[in-house]
């Protein structure tokens, strides 16, 4: 028998804890979750925060309000299909929509860098105004600060939003039930690839435009048609994979999806193949998943398909009980694999 003793391997000691914030702490993956769970949740501890929803749900007389906030630090500021202004409005509108809420009004805080072009700022504010009109919300209050040259990236925007909850039942991972159908509102990966292409100067045969869009209308259409909606989640950083993993972990249920059912545009697939990215993890800004009661699945899908923003909607899988808390996917060649959350940002591979 050969000796089991291992020779002297060249392995470094582990890095136990990062003492500084890494970019990956904002990447939507495991490091960010650790920051939220290890720092923010225990420090701010309260029952509303503990629901870990896209927005807080607040009782207000006989109505329920949804309240949410998000900050936008995108680079480049302008990209095919939108700019930081469109993102700042739609992102917050979408967080409200994912609570089953009808978005009412937004606040907007600008952090501007000394020397930033006023023409660019005007363009961004115009985009915000137009996006707000399209989403049916008003920007009702705001704030402006200027930081020294070199201390900001041109412009950062924070928006907060308030909406009226239209759903009768709680829309959250806790409401997901075994047997639920999982609907995806359209093809994935466009926003992330559009940004990457501009940022890295990658030229593809066609211009890939961001999917950035307000999602309240299709969500409210589902609720109005009395579809039994259990959970909604917009796909942002971390992509479809991270959204599904979060929900599976929170609900302690199994999510099974089929790779062949998940729509990805040809040009996005091509870009992902070149960069060594998995489209499941690429960012989106105008896509969501809806967990609905199985008996309503077909009706919900045809409602989504009739909406211009969800023309590529698809039924991608269903919820089960085992293996608990995991997402699995049937691959294109018919084998089963785990879908995990990324630890940090998706990094381009060597070869």
């Amino acid at each position: 028998m050969t000796s089991e003793e291992t020779p002297h391997f060249h392995c470094p000691l582990p890095i136990d804890e990062y003492t500084h914030v890494l970019l990956a702490h904002g990447g939507g993956g495991r490091l960010m979750h650790r920051l939220i769970e290890g720092l923010f949740l225990p420090m701010f501890h309260n029952p509303t925060l503990a629901t870990r929803h896209d927005g807080a749900l607040l009782e207000c007389g006989d109505r329920k309000l949804a309240f949410t906030t998000d900050s936008y630090v995108v680079r480049p500021l302008f990209f095919p299909g939108g700019d930081i202004g469109t993102l700042a409005v739609n992102g917050t509108v979408n967080d409200l929509a994912m609570c089953g809420a009808h978005p009412l009004c937004l606040s907007s805080g600008f952090i501007l860098e000394e020397g930033f072009s006023v023409a660019s700022l005007r363009r961004i504010v115009q985009s915000m105004s137009q996006a707000a009109r399209e989403a049916g919300v008003q920007l009702v209050t705001g704030d402006t600060k200027v930081v020294d040259r070199g201390k900001g990236d041109g412009v950062y925007i924070n928006t907060a939003g308030i909406g009226v909850v239209m759903a009768d039942r709680l829309i959250a991972p806790a409401s997901v039930e075994p047997g639920d159908a999982i609907l995806l509102s359209g093809d994935i990966g466009r926003h992330g690839i559009a940004i990457m292409a501009v940022r890295e100067g990658l030229a593809f045969e066609t211009t890939i435009e961001s999917d950035c869009a307000p999602l309240a209308a299709p969500v409210l259409a589902l609720l109005k048609a009395r579809i039994e909606v259990h959970c909604l989640r917009d796909l942002t950083r971390g992509g479809l994979a991270s959204a599904l993993v979060e929900i599976a972990e929170a609900a302690q249920l199994h999510i099974g999806v089929r790779e062949s059912a998940i729509p990805v545009r040809e040009d996005v697939r091509g870009a992902c193949e070149i960069l060594g990215f998995d489209p499941l993890y690429v960012a989106n800004e105008g896509r969501f998943v809806a967990f609905v009661a199985w008996r309503d699945a077909e009706r919900a899908l045809s409602l989504l398909l009739s909406h211009p923003l969800c023309a590529g909607a698809a039924l991608i899988g269903s919820v089960g009980t085992e293996p608990q808390g995991l997402v699995t996917m049937r691959s294109s060649i018919g084998a089963e694999r785990i879908v995990d959350m990324l630890s940090g940002e998706q990094l381009p591979r060597i070869c």
Partner: protein
């Protein structure tokens, strides 16, 4: 998508799997050399389609995994200098050195940039004449031509503020190291298709003869890999040991002559340390004396630095194909992609990371009792 979907067809995969079952009469152990193939195998679940007699073991062909911590430490030291712009492929940034990784250097204020090509790093050097631009040149024969081109251009254009931190490794010496190990159990190889697009495959013919081992040059799509396995098993069953080419749509016997000439012009064969394996003679590339001016180790006075590494994980055995990732007691517990103990957990091409991401279901089911004992 054309040229992709054809190679991911479920029906064709089933047919290959059936053919493989038909020709397999006894147990065989086959190593896929390249990390890209390991990634595809677990991502698509190729190994689930194999008959139980066929065992795949994962080879040392992940450049991130085999780069020794000594080089990582040198990279960290160089990248921490205020006068340096340090350029690297993305996945090298997360590889831990002794106490930190390049991402931490960036968080501490170091100018660390992800690039897609060494020529982008060269352009950065031209745009920043007052700063030193260093490119972390890791990889096998696949990335060598582009790295050689960057140095060649820097030489021709007299770009003095550019240099390479070289950690280039070669496939054939690694295969020989595995085959000549007394504990070797590899009976056949899937050779790395992309390496062979550059080098061709004539250099594998003496290895196949000397060690009586079939070597099949194989592509990276699921059907490529299934076909490569079929071809290898057929050779094993028939008692043949030849070099065959599954990846003929990209590879020919002689490879890319121009690329090889450029590599030979810029680089010479040197001994190299491999993480998890140790030093293998004539297993890497270093800059020729003529181009020593573009060698970052010399420029920053690090050529004589030797870093000893602590022993924690079994990544050496994993890289040599002697152990599977989940056979490591640290796997998934002390060692995860966020806190890798070994490089095989760092890169998405690393066997441990691939297992961690895609394989925990089976592990939970089949290996839970072992963990309790």
């Amino acid at each position: 998508m054309k040229f992709i979907d054809e190679y991911r067809d479920a029906e064709a995969a089933k047919r290959f799997a059936a053919a493989l079952r038909h020709i397999t009469s006894r147990p065989w152990t086959i190593m896929e050399v390249c990390g890209g193939q390991t990634h595809a195998i677990v991502r698509f679940g190729v190994d689930e389609l194999l008959p139980k007699e066929v065992t795949l073991v994962h080879g040392p062909g992940c450049p991130v995994c085999v780069t020794p911590v000594e080089l990582i430490e040198k990279a960290i030291e160089i990248a921490s200098r205020p006068d340096v712009i340090f350029c690297s492929f993305g996945d090298m940034l997360r590889v831990p050195g002794l106490s930190k990784d390049l991402l931490s250097v960036k968080a501490d204020g170091g100018d660390v940039r992800i690039v897609y090509s060494p020529l982008d790093a060269l352009a950065t050097a031209q745009e920043n004449p007052s700063r030193q631009v260093v490119f972390f040149a890791v990889g096998f024969e696949t990335t060598a031509p582009a790295n050689a081109m960057a140095v060649f251009q820097a030489f021709r254009q007299g770009i003095g503020n550019f240099s390479l931190l070289v950690s280039h490794v070669l496939v054939p010496p690694a295969m020989e190291a595995i085959l000549s190990s007394p504990s070797n159990r590899v009976q056949g190889f899937l050779a790395a298709g992309h390496v062979c697009t550059v080098m061709g495959y004539s250099e594998y013919e003496p290895i196949a003869r000397k060690y009586r081992v079939p070597i099949v040059v194989t592509g990276f799509e699921p059907l490529d890999i299934l076909q490569g396995i079929c071809m290898t098993v057929r050779q094993l069953e028939e008692g043949r040991a030849q070099v065959e080419n599954q990846y003929s749509r990209a590879v020919n016997r002689n490879g890319n002559r121009q690329a090889q000439e450029l590599i030979r012009e810029i680089f010479e064969v040197t001994p190299r340390k491999w993480r998890g394996v140790g030093e293998i003679p004539s297993s890497g590339l270093g800059l020729r004396p003529k181009y020593a001016a573009w060698d970052a180790e010399r420029r920053f006075g690090l050529a004589d630095r030797i870093v000893e590494e602590a022993t924690v994980c079994i990544s050496g055995s994993v890289l040599r194909g002697e152990k599977k990732p989940h056979e490591c007691p640290a796997f998934g517990a002390a060692c995860t992609p966020e806190h890798p103990l070994g490089a095989t957990m760092v890169s998405t091409e690393g066997a441990c990371a691939a297992y961690y991401r895609y394989r925990r279901i089976q592990m939970r089911h089949t290996h839970a009792p072992e963990h309790q004992s």
